[in-house]
């Protein structure tokens, strides 16, 4: 016992380092969404460019699609924008937008200035749908499958890496099912 007693603090130290190492390399801002593998919350909102028409998550049944939550006031959305434009140019995944807590005029102006990657965007002026989707930091992106189940959520700007390594493979898999 005496011989090994010195190993006890060492073990504790190693454990502590492992835990700290684990904790420090994770992003505390990324809160795992409880909505993964749950049905995407239903909504029906006016379309950004044509408020006489509506857009609903249920319109997308039978398709695998991306819902990107954005806003003209959101700085990281600007950073993310080229990635979305590239994605829409490639036509790899149908991309829809949710203009979150934004003035419609501002949203429309923003898209005409920077280019519109979305097939269409919906107006979420008071942010209620955003709350239903657990949005807390725009931009956020949801991959929703044919049955309307959320399969993936990206918090913060989409990067080419996330797109290549996570979203596109998952999309292919969901689409072939």
């Amino acid at each position: 016992m005496t011989r090994y007693i010195y190993l006890i603090p060492l073990t504790f130290f190693v454990l502590l380092v492992v835990f700290l190492g684990f904790g420090l390399t994770r992003d505390p801002r990324e809160v795992p969404s409880p909505l993964i593998n749950r049905p995407a919350p239903a909504f029906r909102l006016a379309q950004l460019h044509d408020p006489t028409k509506t857009f609903s998550a249920s319109d997308m049944r039978g398709k695998v699609w991306l819902l990107n939550v954005w806003a003209s006031w959101c700085a990281s959305c600007r950073e993310e924008h080229p990635v979305l434009l590239e994605l829409s140019r490639s036509g790899a995944i149908p991309l829809y937008g949710l203009d979150y807590k934004d003035q419609p005029e501002d949203g429309i102006a923003w898209l005409s200035e920077l280019g519109n990657p979305y097939l269409l965007s919906a107006r979420d002026r008071d942010g209620r749908v955003g709350i239903d989707y657990g949005v807390y930091g725009v931009p956020e992106t949801y991959l929703i499958d044919r049955e309307g189940i959320i399969r993936f959520k990206q918090i913060g700007p989409l990067t080419p890496e996330v797109l290549e390594q996570k979203i596109l493979p998952l999309y292919k898999e969901l689409n072939s099912q």
């Binding site: 016992m1 809160v31 969404s33 409880p34 209620r128 709350i131 239903d132 657990g134 930091g137």
Partner: protein, 162 residues
Amino acid sequence: MKHAVLTFILLWGVVCCGALAAVAKEAQPAAEDPQLEERLAKLSAELRCLVCQNETLADSRADLAVDLRNQIREQMKAGKSDKEIVAFLTQRYGDFVLYRPPVKPQTYLLWFGPFLLLAFGLLFLFRYVRWRRQSIVEQPLSDDERRRAEELLKMGPGKEPA
């Protein structure tokens, strides 16, 4: 003279503060229902603001926190219980919104871990003490040592042996 001026300033300060406090009270939004506001404040103090994660929903000035407080207020007005409102939030944001995590299998370690550590510590302490006690070897004094010890005791405190 100096004293009087100081007293005057102090008094004046007190009066001003009082007036300010009164104004502040008046400036508060005429809460339609103080009871509901109190309930909201109590509940939202238990909830985390997701934007600024170290603040409660009650303290945060983030846009989202304001929206969430409004939603909670609405739901309270609609007669929802605190439990239902918390369920509404955890469905959307997960248990992370709760400052007091629920007791469930995933959080057993969190809740009971400290007690487990305490138990381990006690066990270790107990075994260590027992081991120490066993490893102490009784070494009786020799006759010589005993005599010397008695001498020392007889001399009383504060004196050096010759």
